[in-house]
């Protein structure tokens, strides 16, 4: 449905871009540098998480502070499912057919991992549905923000207190940690596709109408609550996907999914521009790159590495004061714009060529 709208040039360009992204992922995955595998993996996962938050903040127009909690749900569900599958089919089989010796994945591994991640995402979506039904109908604005934050802290504390769900130390998959960017890349493409399809669908357009004017939308016969809850559920599902991928990336404690992670995601979304999916991906890249690459360089003063909060705070305040729409505002990347750039460049070059001789004369 999404592809039908595109003309041939844009379709080909999109496919080329996807293939290039996945090829890049494979290249990084097979490369020697562990740091770059880590950086690329985290950028891809954070992009997915930021896209999920952007669906709520940008497209729904409400403010959720608790997406860390949904990431935690996805993480926990993915770990539990993976452990369950491992016990079902036996650890030896798992070692032999699922993973390669280097910790990468075999074809069967991709199948298992994908289904694991998708099931975890659906479970998180169900939780998001419950939270959405409870909270979105009655609350909005600041209250909704605080309630989502409270709910995420409830998730974190429950996980922390029940040993089977992780306890204070958390649970992890225990094998093949360290990241396989290819699967994250595929999932990023899948989630972008899902989000675009969703936003172009009836419910997506209804959601945008609610964001722009709640009362007018209601007067036009839009089921405001229904579309809001649906969008929130969808956002939770994507966040759960990111969390599930996080489980295959590294081991985390429940407490790491608290307030700070939620706010870090918020910083990414705000920096990129509320409502701009491209912006979220770009700024996820910037923030992760800053954290994992810039701060670990030896020539960077220790101040930056030990005080990430000051930097984050300054970013937030400065953006809000001077460019409250973020880097991209609500603009999206589009191929028409991209090729338009070439055309402009070409026109400029032609003009310059025509103009230069005149000046000589």
């Amino acid at each position: 449905m999404l592809f039908k709208r595109m003309n041939k040039r844009n379709l080909v360009s999109t496919l080329v871009a996807i293939v290039a992204l996945l090829a890049g992922c494979i290249f990084v995955q097979n490369g020697e540098s562990l740091l770059w595998t880590k950086i690329i993996s985290k950028i891809l996962i954070f992009s997915i998480a930021a896209l999920a938050l952007n669906v709520v903040c940008g497209c729904l127009g409400e403010f959720a502070l608790g997406h860390g909690g949904f990431l935690l749900l996805g993480y926990t569900a993915a770990v539990l499912i993976a452990t369950f599958t491992k016990n079902m089919i036996g650890a030896d089989f798992y070692k032999e057919f699922v993973y390669t010796t280097r910790g990468g994945l075999q074809p069967l591994g991709y199948l298992i991992l994908t289904s694991d991640v998708l099931i975890a995402a659906v479970i998180t979506g169900l939780f998001g549905f419950v939270v959405g039904i409870i909270a979105l109908g009655r609350l909005k604005g600041d209250y909704l923000a605080i309630v989502t934050l409270g709910v995420s802290l409830i998730f974190v504390n429950i996980t922390k207190n029940i040993p089977a769900l992780g306890g204070a130390q958390g649970i992890n998959i225990n094998i093949n940690l360290g990241g396989s960017p290819l699967i994250y890349g595929i999932m990023l493409v899948v989630s972008i596709f899902l989000i675009l399809t969703f936003m172009k669908s009836r419910f997506g357009r209804a959601t945008l109408a609610c964001r722009d004017d709640n009362i007018a939308a209601e007067a036009c016969g839009v089921a405001v609550n229904k579309s809001k809850v649906l969008t929130f559920t969808f956002s939770a599902l994507i966040a759960g996907l990111a969390g599930a991928l996080y489980a295959h990336f590294n081991a985390f404690k429940p407490i790491e999914f608290g307030q700070d992670l939620s706010i870090e995601l918020l910083i990414i979304v705000v920096l990129g521009g509320l409502g701009s999916l491209t912006g979220s991906i770009i700024s996820a890249g910037i923030i992760v790159f800053y954290n994992l690459w810039f701060c670990t360089r030896s020539w960077v003063p220790e101040f930056f590495a030990s005080n990430p909060k000051i930097i984050y705070g300054i970013i937030l305040v400065v953006i809000m004061l001077f460019r409250s729409s973020g880097i991209l505002g609500t603009a999206e990347f589009s191929w028409d714009w991209f090729y338009g750039l070439f055309k402009k460049l070409k026109n400029k070059l032609i003009k310059n060529k025509k103009e230069t001789p005149k000046e000589v004369e």
Binding site: N157, I215, L274
Partner: protein, 293 residues
């Protein structure tokens, strides 16, 4: 039964601290409709200043611990908190108000300010600190109750009866109309921040009398969102509501601690918070404002 009374006593003491801090959140929200996330950092700053002043007086000047010294520390904490609150309001929040930014923008700025302040506190000292003992537990308990009650009465009188208090309520009711009546909005809003941060400083010093150990995460993590949750439960913008919410949260938390389920106290507090908001979205004592087309 003994456990019950111990829980009640600790809960009342803790609740009065939360109530004082909740008043700051509540007043600021009532007037500028913004969750002042930086309030939690004002709390920590108050604790830091009181601690370092006490250390200065005792270790450098060689004074003995006394009530007078505590009052000096408290005064110092209040002054620093107030200055930082004024600076924050002047340089972060007022430009936003001038531009007429959305409420989400204000909320994000508040988060940003709180991050900056927290980062600075972390850079200053990230070890665990211990506030000196001034009183035994019972005296501290009585002090926290008495101070909270006195401040609440004073504040209610101030808001209901004095000219500035009436102006404050006018701004919170309708900013534009208040401006037309000749009220200096910026002054009133700054004053609200001043009162809120002073209450935060008083609250944290009382808190430290009973729970002396703290770190730079006191406001952002140890006390955390409790005061804000208290303000919302009671009905944000309502003074008695904040106090009620504060005592409710404090008692819940301390009961959980006394009965040995303190690990679950967050779940209980936030769970009750969510439930209350669902049935009374404006809080227990808040006014329900209908949206007009």
């Amino acid at each position: 039964m003994e456990l019950f009374f111990e829980g009640l006593k600790n809960g009342l003491a803790m609740g009065s601290v939360f109530a004082l801090m909740a008043l700051g959140y509540s007043m600021v929200y009532g007037i500028v409709k913004m969750i002042n996330f930086a309030h939690s950092e004002f709390i920590t700053i108050g604790g830091f200043v009181a601690f370092f002043l006490a250390a200065l007086f005792h270790d450098v000047l060689g004074w003995a611990y006394s009530v007078g010294m505590l009052l000096l520390c408290l005064a110092g904490a209040i002054v620093v908190c107030v200055i930082i609150a004024i600076l924050t309001e002047r340089f972060a929040y007022r430009p936003l108000r001038k531009k007429g930014s959305s409420r989400i923008t204000a909320l994000i700025t508040a988060i940003g300010v709180s991050y900056i302040l927290n980062g600075i506190l972390n850079a200053i000292n990230n070890k665990q600190l211990q506030f000196p003992t001034f009183f035994d537990n019972d005296t501290a308990f009585i002090i926290s109750i008495v101070v909270t009650a006195a401040l609440l009465i004073l504040l209610t009188f101030f808001v209901k009866k004095t000219k500035v208090g009436i102006a404050m309520r006018a701004v919170s009711e309708n900013e534009e109309a208040a401006k037309l009546m000749g009220i200096n909005n910026n002054f009133i809003i700054a004053l609200t921040f001043v009162i809120g941060s002073a209450l935060a400083a008083i609250g944290v010093v009382i808190y430290l009398l009973r729970v002396p150990f703290f770190t730079f995460e006191l406001g952002s993590s140890t006390i955390g969102l409790y005061p804000f949750v208290a303000a919302v439960i009671g009905g944000i913008g309502s003074l008695p509501g904040s106090v009620l919410g504060g005592f409710l949260i404090g008692i819940l938390k301390e009961f959980a601690a006394v009965f040995g389920i303190s690990a679950w106290s967050d779940v209980i507090v936030y769970g009750i918070f969510v439930i209350i908001l669902l049935f009374k979205p404006a809080g227990l004592l808040g006014k329900d404002v209908r949206e007009k087309v």
